[in-house]
């Protein structure tokens, strides 16, 4: 299991290959989040961020078969179309890989201490949290 909080970009293919080496693995589900249409700065809480994501990965591994997993989240200055986040889960079968990947992403949105600040002409504003994200995380409780 790998959790990395970094300024640098990442290579989806290399990360997926790195968790696909065991012959037990029959499925890898991955999600990549991108910056949509505005330049932004991402701030985080060093130390807590890594711990929060590790706890989310542990919860996923307790619910589904997770043979390996990589989560990378970038911080700092990001441009439109830049990659922000990667979640990749390796399992024996696709059901567990899909579910664990979506669960980790939904919890990351509401539990991992990151904050986005958008830079538009006219000024910079902090992005407001969305209730839809809370609802997406809450549905896993049911």
């Amino acid at each position: 299991m790998k959790v990395a909080i970094q300024r640098e970009d990442f290579d989806l293919g290399a990360e997926v290959r790195a968790i696909s080496r065991s012959p037990k693995i029959g499925a890898v589900a991955s999600f990549v989040g991108l910056v949509r249409d505005v330049r932004m700065t991402l701030e985080h809480y060093p130390g807590m961020t890594e711990n929060a994501i590790r706890q989310i990965v542990d919860q996923a591994a307790a619910r589904w078969q997770v043979l390996d997993c990589t989560v990378i989240h970038r911080y700092g200055e990001l441009q439109p179309n830049d990659q922000i986040v990667l979640v990749a889960v390796a399992s024996a079968h696709r059901g567990d890989a899909f579910a664990a990947c979506e669960f980790i992403m939904d919890y990351l949105k509401t539990q991992a201490p990151f904050w986005k600040k958008e830079h538009r002409t006219g000024g910079a504003t902090w992005v407001e949290a969305r209730t839809a994200d809370d609802e997406a995380a809450d549905r896993w409780e049911k």
Partner: protein
């Protein structure tokens, strides 16, 4: 008792500081109590910690509710609802 208080994102900018070493007055022993204590400073503190502002908190890097207790030497952080991913 002495604690370290951290502020992130919009809170950090509005308060003009990322952290503060703070001697808690007797009677302040929870995260909610600390929030009330900071709000009572008035000015920008009253705005940032107004009851209707959504502020989240962590103690020693674990997300907590306002009833969570604080011990000497703890790292208490206040921040807006998170917006990563």
């Amino acid at each position: 008792m002495k604690v370290t208080v951290l502020f992130f994102a919009a809170l950090r900018e509005q308060l003009g500081r990322p952290r503060e070493e703070l001697e808690l007055p007797a009677g302040v022993s929870t995260v909610g109590g600390l929030r009330d204590h900071l709000r009572a400073r008035g000015g920008e503190w009253a705005n940032v910690f107004a009851p209707n502002r959504p502020v989240r908190a962590a103690v020693n890097q674990e997300m907590v509710q306002p009833v969570a207790t604080i011990s000497a030497g703890d790292e208490v952080a206040f921040f807006p609802p998170v917006t990563g991913g």
